[in-house]
Symmetry: C2
Subunit: 155 residues, 2 copies
Amino acid sequence: MRMGEGVEWGLHCCLALAWLDEPVPTARLAAQFDLPPAYLNKRLQALVKAEILTSTPGVRGGFRLARPPEKITLMDVVAALEGPEDAFRCAEIRQRGAGADAPTSEFRKRCGVDVAMRKAELAWRRELAAQTIADLMAAAPRRAADRVRRWHSVG
Amino acid sequence: MRMGEGVEWGLHCCLALAWLDEPVPTARLAAQFDLPPAYLNKRLQALVKAEILTSTPGVRGGFRLARPPEKITLMDVVAALEGPEDAFRCAEIRQRGAGADAPTSEFRKRCGVDVAMRKAELAWRRELAAQTIADLMAAAPRRAADRVRRWHSVG
DNA sequence: GCTTTCTTACTCGGATACCTACTGTCCGAGTGGAATAGG
DNA sequence: CCTATTCCACTCGGACAGTAGGTATCCGAGTAAGAAAGC
């Protein structure tokens, strides 16, 4: 199992955008982290579609947070970039093969494997939903924020 | 993000093997769940390498649990099949690009994004480690266990 | 009848293709700003 | 000097390839059971 890199990119970009109030174009964000600009743009579009960012075209356009940082959870970002579906997908293999001709009453309850996996994944989602971009801002060293602000104002 | 199907297969196979005491060959397990036999075998090999199953070759060979079911956690099975690495891998993009020429003291602490993600993933792992194959056995309807035993003894 | 040997069928195990999905790139549509010409 | 207009550089947005990882398959090595032959 592997999470796409876009998640790390998206979170760092949200963090940077939280510090900067004016719109930031893709090219500058890509330069900040040394990332492929076009692909970063593609990932940011997913955040726009999820209404986490707003995009403004034009000469001084770019991306901006659509909400205050304390109202953007890590879960929102991850769900927007990795899709809303669970990592573990129960294919109900218990009903196939030997279980095909079992009475339907035996499958009234959800598959135990599915329940267990979903429980664990729910804990994961709960932890993600408990933290916001604002929390990341608070945890980051203040110098990092100043550095980012300075770099973007100069560049 | 998507978890491989092998995890579901592995868990169901472990559950079946917990009910049956004698070695079960791949072909029979594959027939039970209607799965591609060769590929299932490949996945079960990963469980053998992780010392969750033991494999015995020969004419009445097959796979068997290497430990009692209460000592096999779901975490063990997932780690064996999906690899020990975390789903989220911090590439330290904060140190690239604009952050390349920052003082190293600024990166003394771990990346906040990485910490947050790891915290969530740790909760996930904790939940997986808290449940064992024995728990799945207890949660499953008794009729299912009987059905599996009967099917394997006949087939 | 018992022991030893041999055959044989059955099992795992790793090496080999295929295919989906993530990664990466390109070019066009649209927009806002700035320069410019007119009043 | 102020205003309306035109032009243009800059931005996003979606459509088009490349590649890595997961999926699926096949064939060979090894083993234990069982049959057969010898004692």
